[in-house]
Amino acid sequence: MIDKIGGLGPLRGPVGPGLATKPQPAEGERSFKEILQDSIQSVDQLQKEADQVLEKYTKGEASQDQVMVAFKKAQIAFEAMMQIRNKLVDAFEEIQRMRI
């Protein structure tokens, strides 16, 4: 039946009624989950670095500029992570609505 209509194009993975499938990302793409995990790692890393720069500053081994930059980086990474997380939540909620 589908063949007669034609023009649907190739579908990836097994299809058919009753088969629950998870959409597989293409090679080279990452899942949303992985992107969020990477950004959390990066926030954690940058905050550790900011801690270290502050400690150096108190010992006179880093400048005030270096401290400011380190903390700003950590802040921006955190804000980016929040945005990613919020987009994920929005996308999830939209999918939930579609299922209904």
Partner: protein, 123 residues
């Protein structure tokens, strides 16, 4: 998200802010008394402060009392018994101001991040 916020940076910045604020008062006293007969330059103990910061950065909770007393970097004693060196105090005040503004900036930023986490969005 096991460690979202800089526990060490937050408490270290608070300690820096308090130390800088207290030290400013002592320096103001030295400058006001630059010509007072017999007056000896006062200061807060930098080594006590360093020990406090070391404790905070290595997460040892022990509180450290920062003592005040005769300054280690006082000037020469003048004929009237006073040993305040205005150049030394002005330089110390400049360093202290930088410490205060750094700590204040970090604290302001850390609190903003905390509020964003609570609100669940970027403020």
């Amino acid at each position: 998200m096991n460690r979202l916020f800089n526990g060490a940076s937050l408490s270290a910045s608070e300690a820096m802010l308090i130390f800088a604020s207290n030290r400013q008062k002592v320096i103001a006293g030295n400058i006001a008394n630059v010509d007072t007969a017999g007056y000896k330059t006062q200061d807060l103990s930098e080594s006590d402060f360093k020990r406090q910061l070391d404790n905070l950065f290595s997460s040892k909770g022990k509180p450290v009392v920062i003592r005040s007393g005769p300054a280690e970097d006082a000037g020469a004693v003048k004929p009237n018994g006073n040993n305040v060196d205005l150049d030394i105090e002005m330089a110390k005040m400049a360093r202290n101001t930088a410490l205060h503004s750094t700590a204040a900036a970090i604290l302001a930023q850390q609190f903003t991040l905390l509020r964003q986490a609570i609100a669940g969005r970027v403020l």
